[in-house]
């Protein structure tokens, strides 16, 4: 009897764990099946907002594809107008580096601080520009268009030294050029018909070398031909109206014009200055208050 009980117990001890484990395996399989079931995923995804994220992601990818297509189309384009101005000016400066002689050791003149203060005093804020000091007497001063209106102001070191210009006097000369740029006189002197046609267009085969040659010629002549009497009159009057509120600045400007007038008349090396910026003598006349006849 005891033997029969023992054998039953042994059987039960073998069977019970099998039954228990058998149940667990089944449950796991069921769980796995639930996970694989798409409907249950969909529900979970919806609850977590992941399906919306997937839609957003798809839209984002579409946008990126459009942007990528735009970029690859732009790869074969001539630069847009603003980029083109900045590029051409620097290309001109690089091509004429030896002639303009701007790569030399120079001290800090403090022109940046002086010109910055002058512009801010007159109410010109958020303006960005660059100055390049040339070590040549052949170009006295000038202004070239920069990218996004960050123009490049050129001034000759021998010219500054010969005239013994102070930082404020240099800044006042730069201010004249600043107004020229504001009046659109700088770009209009260089711009050509082909500039408008080529900027932003696609490159057909090789780069149009004739365009580059033509533009380099225009840059060169812009520094050599100067401004008309009418343009000079407009700038002088603008200087007058801005500086009148600051008598010290107005007097310095007036004295500077006298200095320029005397200097250019007596110095053969700088005689053509009058042709480029006509003329200090006329500017003095335009600035001098009319005498009232009683």
């Amino acid at each position: 009897m005891i033997n029969i009980f023992k054998s039953k117990l042994a059987f039960a001890s073998l069977i019970l764990p099998l039954m228990v484990f058998g149940n667990e395996i089944k449950l796991q399989e069921e769980k796995e099946l639930e996970v694989v079931n798409f409907n249950s995923i969909k529900k979970v995804l919806q609850e977590d907002g992941l399906s919306q994220q997937a839609i957003n992601k798809k839209k984002e990818v579409e946008k990126l594809k459009v942007e990528k297509a735009k970029i690859s189309a732009q790869r074969n384009l001539y630069p847009q107008e603003e980029d083109m101005w900045g590029f051409l000016t620097e290309y001109f400066l690089v091509k004429n580096a030896q002639l303009l002689n701007w790569d030399y050791q120079k001290p800090e003149y403090g022109i940046d601080q002086s010109f910055k203060e002058l512009l801010e005093k007159l109410g010109f804020y958020q303006k960005k520009l660059k100055i390049l000091v040339l070590n040549t007497p052949s170009i006295h001063r000038g202004i070239l268009p920069g990218a996004h209106k960050e123009d490049i102001y050129l001034i000759s070191l021998p010219f500054m030294r010969a005239l013994d210009l102070s930082k404020l006097e240099i800044s006042l000369l730069l201010l004249e050029d600043f107004f020229r740029s504001e009046e659109g006189m700088v770009r209009s002197r260089i711009k050509t018909k082909s500039f408008d046609e080529i900027t932003g267009s696609s490159i057909k085969g090789k780069i149009d070398q004739n365009f580059l040659k033509e533009m380099m010629g225009k840059y060169d002549s812009s520094l050599k031909t100067g401004y008309s009497f009418q343009q000079q009159f407009e700038i002088t009057k603008k200087m007058d109206s801005y500086l009148k509120a600051h008598p010290d600045l107005w007097n310095t400007y007036f004295r500077l014009l006298r200095k320029l007038n005397d200097f250019t008349k007596g110095n053969n090396l700088y005689k053509n200055y009058i042709n480029l910026y006509p003329s200090p003598e006329m500017q003095i006349k335009w600035l001098t208050p009319e005498k009232k006849v009683l």
């Binding site: 091509k95 790569d103 910055k116 303006k127 960005k128 520009l129 390049l132 780069i207």
Partner: protein
């Protein structure tokens, strides 16, 4: 013989440790202008060690042995160690001219001297920026 070798080895290990602790990599930056130079010394007109293009990665290093003006960074570019003005470095990869118009820029076929001068140009500019109102 061993008397001499052991102190020598010890001192050289110490020196190596010193060198390692003296230097610190500040971070990886990107070059901003179209072209530029890694300078031999922290001066605008100092000789160029190598010319780099916009977006070129530059490792900025801090070293107790190199004391420089705040406006300059001590950098490592490829095998060269030199100096670049901090205003020419950006933490983010810049949107470069040659990246926007690669076919135009490549089509210019700038020669070595032109590349050199283009880099020098940014060193020679006197930058003016008036404040925000």
């Amino acid at each position: 013989m061993m008397k001499w070798i052991i102190p020598f080895l010890l001192s050289s290990t110490l020196l190596a440790q010193n060198k390692a602790t003296d230097e610190k990599v500040v971070g990886l930056f990107y070059f901003l202008p179209i072209l530029g130079h890694v300078h031999q010394s922290p001066e605008k007109t100092s000789a160029s060690m190598t010319t780099i293009q916009c977006s070129h990665p530059v490792k900025v290093i801090e070293s107790s042995k190199v004391i420089i003006n705040e406006a300059w960074a001590y950098v490592e570019v490829a095998d060269y160690r030199g100096f670049i003005r901090k205003e020419f470095l950006s933490e983010k990869r810049p949107d470069c001219f040659q990246g926007r118009y690669p076919n135009f820029f490549d089509g210019l076929n700038l020669d070595l001297s032109e590349l050199y001068y283009w880099g020098r140009l940014y060193d020679q500019y006197i930058q003016v920026e008036t404040r925000v109102r």
